[in-house]
């Protein structure tokens, strides 16, 4: 049995073989794989005994359930009003310049994917971004360069 099917079996065992477990199972896969492959979705469908179309239909509804292989670290920068007002564009520019990618892209080394997202709930400390589940607030171009450098050093 390959890795992913073991993961899925474990997740289904943990959450139960019912429709209500679908989201927790998919979230569990993303936590480990960083994305949802078609293969994984078909396996989940088999395990939960629902159609693969149902799994895909549900997964594609949620913006955090990416089914394109992304980087190890997914950067989600908030683009909603307050962050936009407080310098999100400059911060985004700094990230794009440093990683040499645009929004939606993944760095060639597979380390970072850059995405925009809607309100993260840190408007009082705007602009804000998530790197995977980690929050970074009150960003400036300098600060974001420091943060990314730390990630880069960590992964050397």
């Amino acid at each position: 049995m390959d890795n992913i099917s073991t993961t899925i079996k474990t997740l289904v065992k943990k959450h139960g073989k019912k429709r209500e477990s679908l989201l927790p199972v998919l979230q569990g896969i993303i936590k480990q794989e960083n994305f949802l492959s078609e293969y994984a979705m078909v396996l989940v469908a088999t395990e939960l005994d629902i159609s693969a179309a149902e799994v895909y239909g549900t997964a594609s509804f949620y913006s955090f359930m990416n089914h394109k292989k992304g980087g190890k670290y997914i950067i989600r920068i908030c683009k909603t009003i307050t962050c936009s007002m407080k310098g999100k564009i400059q911060v985004l520019q700094a990230i794009e310049d440093m990683l040499k990618i645009k929004v939606g892209d993944t760095t060639p080394d597979g380390l970072f994917t850059l995405l925009e997202t809607n309100c993260l709930g840190w408007c009082h400390k705007a602009p804000a971004m998530l790197i995977n589940d980690e929050v970074y607030t009150s960003l400036t171009p300098e600060r974001v360069r420091e943060i990314l450098s730390e990630y880069l050093t960590k992964n050397k």
Binding site: R19, E20, S21, F61, S84, N118, D133, E134
Partner: protein, 393 residues
Amino acid sequence: MESYHLKRIDFIFKNENDWKDVLSRALASDKQLILNELMESELKGRGGAGFPTGLKWKLTADEKSDEKHIICNADEGEPGTFKDREILTQVPFKVLVGMAICGYVIGALKGFIYLRGEYTFLMPELEKAIKEFEYYCKEINFKFSIKIFLGSGAYICGEETALFESMEGKRGEPRNKPPFPTKNGYLGKPTVVNNVETLAHTYTIFKYGAKQFYDLGVQYSRGTKLFSVSGDTPKAGIYELELGMTLEQFVDDFGDGDTKAVQVGGASGFLVPRKLFSQTIIGFKGKLEGHSLPTGGSMMLFNSSRSMFNVLSNYLYFFHEESCGQCTPCRVGCQVLLNGINEVKKGERSTLYLDKLLQLTETMKQTAKCGLGQSVANSFSSIVENFKEEMIY
């Protein structure tokens, strides 16, 4: 001139270490008395819709069912709102006890916290608190458990019926109402869905009695509310204030001296221009003088350097992305509105087209299936009507 100061209140974030006593005391009281206390306090839902909490609990308690649920709505996605995260970080036990008391009153053995995916980092601490809480429940022989359900980045799942769909493992598409959740909620069972802040307030109300809460605020809008203040303000942050203040008082306290407009209630709320500050009251609809605006507590201030066109187009982009796509008025309407204001701005359409767009928002208000599609009209009409010249030039 000395700047105006609204009275700060400290119910919610007050550090209290007696949650075990409060819970034990509630569980020893008569259910009807708890409901009475809650109704006397006139607490209304703090997520923004303002449904009387006591009535919601009573309706669910009155339902006959083998299974009921209490769900804490922590899918705080409204732009400009960030109070629920702080409540769950600083005083999680108030929320857990609120849920347990609700469970006791309505007859639910299971509680859920629907936590937005963006707040995943809260999980470890919150789970620790739940563990401690459940341990105590076991100790006093109270059968009640709480589980966290994580969202995955969909604003619409804050709508209670979309939230059920999401928890049931489906796309977060709102259901038709009626039937209401009090009758037919999660898994078709009677369900109470309360905002994080509402539950924290119930804790305070049980502990100190309804009177302390009721004595604050104004008629129809009793008690205090957490306000998430952001934008052009030197005092961005979370503040607990009495309901019933005018927007003028608020801006005198929190503005930067150059406030042009305030967005009350997030992207789905209303934009109030300076000329209406003095007649706008922050509270729920009632027979108040002037115009009263309910709010989930999002207050975004804009000063004269901000373009209202950019503000509106940012909101519309938000709605266009977050619309679940289920009903046509909202799915197509949001796109047409977004494209429409851009076309007018570029001069590709006559300025009269704005009136057509206003009519469209009116149609969306009447025909959209849920609150998201219906409320796009709020920000759209309040911005276009008050700042027409900024939309055109």
